[in-house]
């Protein structure tokens, strides 16, 4: 009897269990990233479920020891772009969630209203929004974010910088659209941007 070569054999039960444990650990992060990308909790969770199924199916392509969070974020991002193109998904946001966590940071006289921040975030160009989410919220390095988005580090830096500037300006001037769904011009712009982003990025996705 020969020992089975793990390189060629189907995934062992142990491989699968390890993978599943890691996958389970990143689910909350996937939900947070998805929520930031598309704003609506129900759609975000659908996206995460889709991501989990895709990740599970593709688990042989995951290299143990590398970042499960980064790997699954790529899958989620691609699923998001695909869905956006297909459904012409509307960039709605969930006011309830933002209001619920509207706790004033300790020691700040004028708390930033998180609902404003969330709304402003959703008006950003999609590629800037995701760059800011990855770096500013998810805590990824510029290098990791570049890897996830399949672009150059300098591009990520530039996107984050522009996103920060845009948010700062919106929040400082109170120039925040009331509802992104009612702002047809912004909405159209977002969708147009998205087509470009999706077209460009999907074709450069690592196979």
């Amino acid at each position: 009897m020969s020992d089975s070569d793990p390189g060629d054999s189907p995934r062992s039960a142990r491989d699968k269990a390890d993978f599943k444990r890691e996958l389970t650990q990143v689910v909350p992060h996937l939900r947070a990233f998805a929520r930031g990308l598309c704003g609506r909790p129900d759609m975000a969770d659908d996206l995460v479920q889709e991501t989990l199924l895709k990740a599970w199916a593709a688990q042989e392509r995951f290299e143990p020891g590398t970042s499960m969070r980064a790997w699954t974020f790529v899958i989620l991002r691609n699923a998001y772009l695909t869905d956006m193109r297909r459904n012409r998904f509307r960039g709605e946001y969930d006011e309830g969630v933002a209001e619920r966590i509207l706790t004033a940071p300790a020691g700040q006289e004028e708390p930033i209203h998180l609902s404003d921040l969330h709304r402003a975030l959703l008006t950003l160009q999609p590629e800037r929004r995701e760059a800011l989410l990855l770096v500013g919220a998810g805590g990824f390095s510029y290098e990791e974010a570049a890897e996830i988005c399949g672009c150059a580090v300098g591009t990520i830096k530039s996107r984050v910088g522009r996103a920060r500037a845009a948010l700062t300006e919106m929040l400082a001037n109170g120039n925040i659209p009331r509802r992104s769904t009612e702002d047809d011009a912004a909405h159209r712009a977002i969708l147009e941007e998205l087509d470009e982003v999706a077209a460009g990025n999907l074709s450069s996705t690592r196979g």
Binding site: D8, K20, T82, P105
Partner: protein, 74 residues
């Protein structure tokens, strides 16, 4: 004129550092991370064991029905 004066360390130009709302961004993210996982996720995770992962490319087969073929990269 006052050439001996050092330039101020920070210019009032565009912010280089994360502005005050940066914390809010993390709050938004963390608030979701800390949420209890909905049952639908627990169900899905439990169901994964019944789904056979795809074989790596180049190993033949490939005809297995999969719930997530749509949009998958070849």
């Amino acid at each position: 004129m006052a050439s001996d004066r050092k330039p101020p360390p920070a210019t009032p130009g565009p912010p280089q550092r994360a502005p005050e709302w940066a914390d809010g961004l993390k709050q938004l993210y963390d608030s979701v991370v800390e949420e209890d996982l909905p049952d639908s996720f627990k169900d899905l995770l439990a169901r994964l064991d019944e789904i056979e992962p795809k074989r790596a490319p180049g190993q033949g087969g490939g005809g297995s029905p999969s719930p997530d073929d749509r949009g998958a990269r070849p």
